[in-house]
Symmetry: C2
Subunit: 480 residues, 2 copies
């Protein structure tokens, strides 16, 4: 049945917007899976879809606050069990008292439980806990640093919503631009495109491990200026997505100096701050200290060792909010207005964010198990990254620069046959081996280079199976 | 410390956007509460914040899928209890087998549990259940109606996100407009303003119970046309917010005819479809039948008798998606693109939406309790609406037209002292009695009229306390 339903003119910005992480290659992968093919989804940072087990601490508490009648019942059950322990159940099957108490505290602090809209910014006690977490992480003390302020923190639906809030506000017309690193996580290009602004590319130095100096920033800025673009902000993703690269203190300071000179806001995507595998994460807030540069930094429950993507939790912290021309308002007031119209982020996402910033204390019954689960997840991620790196060494023309961070490797494909692109390569790799990756062009890359992004999330057993197949595929592909 | 942080030019659309439901009066109420005043928040449809108890069915299942280890444990505990029942626990303290099985089914159908990103549209089995729900609700059969299609359904973060998806797409430039009823839920005016489009007002007839005929629509459309506005869609909120009015079949048919003639999309906000208190709800999809008019209809877990606002769940169903000019795409493809960049809505919101559309079957152990909880909530809501209506009869110049629907009453304040507005009245009412309402001007109203919106959510005990105070306040306010 094909009926003419007219021909609608829609928002051209949405029409032109692209998002490769869920683009043609993953779509083809989904088709193949429906046909019964075994597909390994390494196209997206979605750990629990690839078997990562959720942290018990998070889920036990979330489960209790969703059904509060079970808190007291748990206590009664425990004494029932202690009176007649001749079952298959063990003490470890019961939730420890610290988590029962914590669940009660969360419900009491929320005031209205899990079913009510919260303040638009999110529940106050959670924002206060986030502020404490930031201060502790950054070593803020009486003599050092600037304490975080709960009123400058917004709980968001993943980090994505925070990015939209900021970008939508900054882009006042089509001449406003935002600097983003190339390659970048395509949320940024999509958000800028949707807001109708100009994307201003800067190019970290791949062979130096994706670091960058002042000249890279100045060059991009000058070119934008010449094209009539007013640059409003600079995005830094640290650790990098898709590159996995970890920024050093000097590059961070360089960005801050550059932003200060040119009156830019820094948008610091720090969602992979726990994914550094031996390296050190240094937050923008910490390096910024008392400098009056506007900083919007983002964090999420989807990454790190939590991997709670489906719960869509995260936060945005704003420092040194600019004043808004022609008003008595500042940037936070307008973020708040945007948050109000969406009412609030989801309460489960908020509670998991709380648990992320408030892990079990060292002397609690939960501590040991929590640490064990955490170390197991991070240790495996590192090992899997090393396995894939080792495979690259067997592939002609493939180089992978930079430290290992985030959940991704972004190897350069140096010797693809003439006339073929990384898109072709990734599509063929999928068809041949069932491994779903994303072509480098989906993230942006220096003209003339080719890459792919692979998430190091599939299990070791799966990698042991697919990596030799990838190496074979690579050899054949290069042979044409 | 007052430091010059520059003066930023931001997106003027966001600067101008307004959202009275969380505007100055509720903000003042929050201040007063902090100072220790007792405040009754009747400004927003947030039932659980005012003591409505969540449905056991929803929360028990959600709690189990969040911590799957507890499903089998529940079975073991039950047999432990049966072996030694000499405790304070009773059989009713254990979760019945139908819900344990349902929780397992949900986890199995999800494929990846609660922690993974889902498909951008939401989990397929949930979209299929929604399609079944729509067909059952609308009596779709082999001879009647058009079945809903799971691929045309998007799970969203509350209904708000669905509204943004549609409005953002429809507004291609500042001459594109969307018709909205006045008064309206200010999400619509805010979304249109944010997208940079034109708001085209139409005026239902208050004294006729907020119904409207063809001439009201034609009048608004013609005025827009004369102003150079291209109308793309018409919003209908049924049952109404803020009016509570319930649309009859004839008005619904009128909207469909009008939309067909003028090639408009219908945006049907049907989030209050369970809140009709004796009247009958008739969906746009049902009345539309086989007519080829584009229809985007919205539903939510926040309203009805669920009141699960904090979990941010809902869905958007699209029928007869228009084709997009200059492409081979249709409207659903572009909704999907937008959903992709936000990754997905939260899994708890998705699961609660599933449970909303799939209540316990008649022969299950859970059925009776579920029905009792549902009837208790809806019965109380109706009684509270009647209590407030009775109070209006004691207030000079106050008239409240239309059937009782949704969660709100929207009385006209006919005799405010000259020079005072409904905003002044609501602010004074708050200061005097602690009752927080929203001024009619926050929703839009016919020039020269004054109203307020009050949610009939506070407990009967609270209403018994505050209604006499309101009547006294009213008398004094009118006396000047």
């Amino acid at each position: 049945m094909s009926i003419d339903r007219g021909s609608l003119v829609v928002n051209p910005n949405i029409l032109e917007m692209e998002y490769a992480v869920r683009g043609p290659i993953p779509q083809r992968a989904a088709e193949l899976k429906k046909q019964g093919r075994k597909i390994i989804f390494a196209n997206i940072g979605n750990p629990q879809a690839l078997g990562q087990v959720p942290l018990s601490y998070l889920r036990q508490v979330l489960s209790l606050v969703e059904d509060p009648a079970k808190i007291d019942r748990e206590r009664q059950l425990k004494s029932l069990f202690e009176d007649s322990p001749h079952t298959d159940l063990q003490e470890a099957d019961f939730i420890s008292e610290d988590l029962l108490g914590l669940s009660e505290e969360i419900l009491a602090a929320s005031g209205t439980g899990m079913g009510a809209y919260t303040e638009s910014k999110g529940m106050l006690f959670i924002r206060e806990a986030i502020a404490d977490f930031i201060d502790q992480r950054d070593g803020v003390g009486p003599q050092h640093g600037v304490p975080a302020d709960a009123e400058s923190i917004f709980l968001t639906s993943g980090a994505s919503q925070g990015v939209y809030f900021v970008v939508d506000l900054l882009i006042a017309d089509e001449n406003d631009g935002i600097m983003i690193p190339i390659p970048q996580y395509p949320l940024y290009s999509a958000a800028i495109k949707k807001a109708g602004g100009a994307q201003v590319n800067y190019y970290p130095d791949e062979e130096a491990g994706w670091v960058f100096g002042r000249e890279v920033l100045v060059d991009a800025y000058q070119k934008a200026l010449q094209a009539g673009v007013k640059v409003k902000a600079i995005v830094v993703i640290n650790p990098g997505n898709p590159t996995g690269a970890v920024l050093d203190a000097e590059s961070t300071r360089e960005v801050i100096r550059f932003a200060a000179e040119n009156q830019l806001m820094i948008i610091a995507d720090e969602v992979y701050q726990e994914n550094v595998y031996g390296g050190e994460f240094l937050s923008f807030a910490k390096v910024l200290g008392k400098e009056q540069v506007p900083l919007a930094s983002l964090h999420s429950i989807s990454k790190g060792f939590l991997g709670e993507c489906g719960h869509r939790g995260g936060y945005l912290e704003m420092r040194n909010p600019p004043l808004i021309e022609g008003t008595s308002l500042d940037f936070i007031d307008l973020l708040n207005k945007q948050a109000s119209v969406s009412l609030c982020s989801s309460t489960p996402g908020q509670v998991l964010t709380y648990l992320m910033v408030k892990p079990p204390g060292e002397n609690t019954p939960t501590y040991e198990n929590y640490q064990a689960e955490k170390e197991q997840i991070l240790g495996e991620l590192h090992q899997k990254a090393l396995m894939i790196r080792a495979a690259f060494k067997e592939m002609e023309g493939v180089d992978c620069f930079g430290k290992t961070g985030a959940l991704y490797l972004f190897p350069r494909l140096g010797k693809l046959p003439a006339g073929t692109t990384d898109f072709d390569y990734c599509m063929a790799l999928l068809e041949e081996t069932g491994l779903c990756t994303v072509n480098g062009s989906g993230f942006g890359q220096k003209p003339g280079t080719q890459h792919l992004r692979v998430a190091f999330l599939p299990s070791k057993a799966l990698l042991e199976e697919v990596l030799p197949a990838w190496i074979d595929f690579h050899q054949q592909y290069l042979a044409g």
